[in-house]
């Protein structure tokens, strides 16, 4: 485990999580959530959990983002908070 890289990616993860729930645009929220999932995937790879990193990259960052974007396009982009 490389702790410098670990700290940088951990702070990016927190920034992406706060951004995903603070932004008013739901499509932007979905994209930021994809960025958050991909940062998490890098984190697993650093911590040696390579199998979890694979699954997170394909399922977490891929399929989840597609689900969110599809749901936002079938409903509305606006959000009050």
């Amino acid at each position: 485990m490389i702790w410098e890289l670990d700290l940088v990616i951990l702070s990016l993860v927190v920034v992406a999580a706060v951004g995903a729930i603070a932004i008013k645009d739901l499509l932007g929220s979905a994209i930021l959530f994809g960025a958050y999932s991909f940062m998490m995937c890098l984190l697993w790879a650093i911590m040696g959990a390579v199998d979890v990193a694979f699954t997170e990259a394909s399922v977490g960052a891929g399929v989840s983002t597609v689900f969110f974007v599809a749901a936002v396009f079938r409903t509305t982009r606006r959000s009050k908070d």
Partner: protein
């Protein structure tokens, strides 16, 4: 005091996991938009996964694939003992693999329910939905 800081430096992964969990919980409770709540639920789940993977991590260990574990050397007389301290614990990884798949399944169901709610009430905001329910 220096003990405190060194323990914080040793366990910063766990601190970030608590921060992420609180962010997710805040989004579930305080946000009024349904999609925001679902994003918060997913952040909460990933925080738990971060906790479990952090349990399995070790300093100075490598990924859990046995070196020279295949080929001729395995059956020979010189096959060496496996030292557990040299490998990261793979048990939490396997558990969390299942958790990621379950997270995507719950995400799909939650978004399908949100789309149904939007088709019926024409809004995703929780307070507007409750106001429409009270009118009836």
């Amino acid at each position: 005091m220096s003990d405190f800081f060194s323990s914080v430096a040793d366990y910063y992964n766990y601190l970030i996991y608590i921060v992420l969990m609180v962010i997710g919980l805040y989004a579930i409770i305080a946000k009024k938009n349904l999609v925001k709540k679902i994003v918060g639920m997913n952040i909460f789940q990933t925080a738990i996964i971060l906790f479990y993977v952090s349990i399995g991590a070790k300093r100075g260990a490598t990924i859990p694939i046995i070196e020279h574990g295949h080929g001729e050397a395995v059956h020979g007389a010189g096959s060496q003992a496996i030292k557990a301290a040299e490998y990261i614990n793979p048990l939490p990884h396997v558990l969390m693999l299942t958790a990621i798949v379950v997270a995507v399944a719950t995400l799909g169901v939650a978004l399908a329910l949100a789309i149904r709610v939007y088709n019926r009430y024409e809004t995703l905001e929780e307070d507007e939905i409750l106001a429409q329910l009270r009118e009836k």
